[in-house]
């Protein structure tokens, strides 16, 4: 890390990113960008559904199906969604729109912005080669600056890092 790093805090962190929904895209990107801003050398390893977060055009969704903890503010209260309703066509799309509106209204960063911030602050981004092959994703589908690697690439970094997270 060049500019963002500093001598007082030459620490490093890795995050394994396994989820690709709109809600679960937040924890890794928030922690990754904030750590980088605090002078930490950050590596993010994207595998399985986490690879969705590296696509050039993001189309992240959130689903209330099988997610009883997802309670949205509605009509002055918080409401969860029964699975029977959550499985109806259009409900996930509606929940996604609602979540995106809330994100905007509350001044929460978009995933696009956080991802941009991660790239700007030299976060080391690795896409899992095996899952790329498994899902038949091409390197051209992904944003620029992504490196390809496997478990050994991750482990080499993890072994010398102070913090290793799995999200």
């Amino acid at each position: 890390m060049t500019e963002a790093g500093n001598a007082t805090n030459a620490k490093s962190m890795t995050i394994i990113v396994t989820k690709g929904t709109l809600d679960w895209a937040y924890p890794p990107f928030i922690l990754g960008t904030t750590a980088a801003a605090m002078g930490v050398d950050v590596t993010m390893f994207f595998t399985f559904y986490g690879l969705e977060l590296l696509k050039k055009k993001l189309d992240l969704q959130v689903s209330p199906l099988g997610n009883p903890a997802m309670k949205m503010p509605m009509a002055g209260m918080h409401m969860g969604m029964p699975n029977l309703v959550g499985m109806l066509p259009g409900v996930s799309a509606g929940a996604t729109t609602m979540m995106k509106n809330m994100i905007k209204k509350k001044g929460v960063a978009s995933i696009e912005d956080l991802r941009e911030a991660a790239i700007e602050s030299d976060v080391n981004i690795i896409a899992c080669q095996m899952t790329m092959d498994l899902f038949e994703f091409k390197k051209e589908d992904m944003i620029d600056g992504v490196k390809l690697g496997g478990a050994a690439t991750y482990m080499e970094q993890a072994l010398q890092s102070h913090i290793n997270l799995y999200i």
């Binding site: 500019e3 963002a4 500093n6 805090n9 904030t34 801003a37 605090m38 001044g107 929460v108 960063a109």
Partner: protein, 75 residues
């Protein structure tokens, strides 16, 4: 008067910190940056950010929902 100002009002975690980090790059060493935010979590976050990065949090105050931080670029 601070050397640079950053209005982070209305922004939520982690944007005030990310913007402050960016703004600090343009503040000469020894200079100061004033940040204004409305995120209540920013009080603890700016203290932690400054402590970790070696920048000095000269002042942290709250006034009717607006939090003001004065950061000296020493990190």
């Amino acid at each position: 008067m601070a050397d640079a100002m950053l209005d982070a009002k209305g922004l939520n975690c982690p944007l005030p910190i990310l913007r402050a980090k960016k703004a600090l790059k343009d503040v000469p060493r020894g200079g100061t940056l004033q940040v204004m935010a409305t995120d209540p979590g920013s009080v603890a976050d700016f203290a932690a950010f400054c402590k970790t990065t070696g920048n000095e949090l000269v002042e942290s105050k709250a006034d009717s929902g607006v939090y003001t931080f004065l950061i000296k670029h020493t990190g």
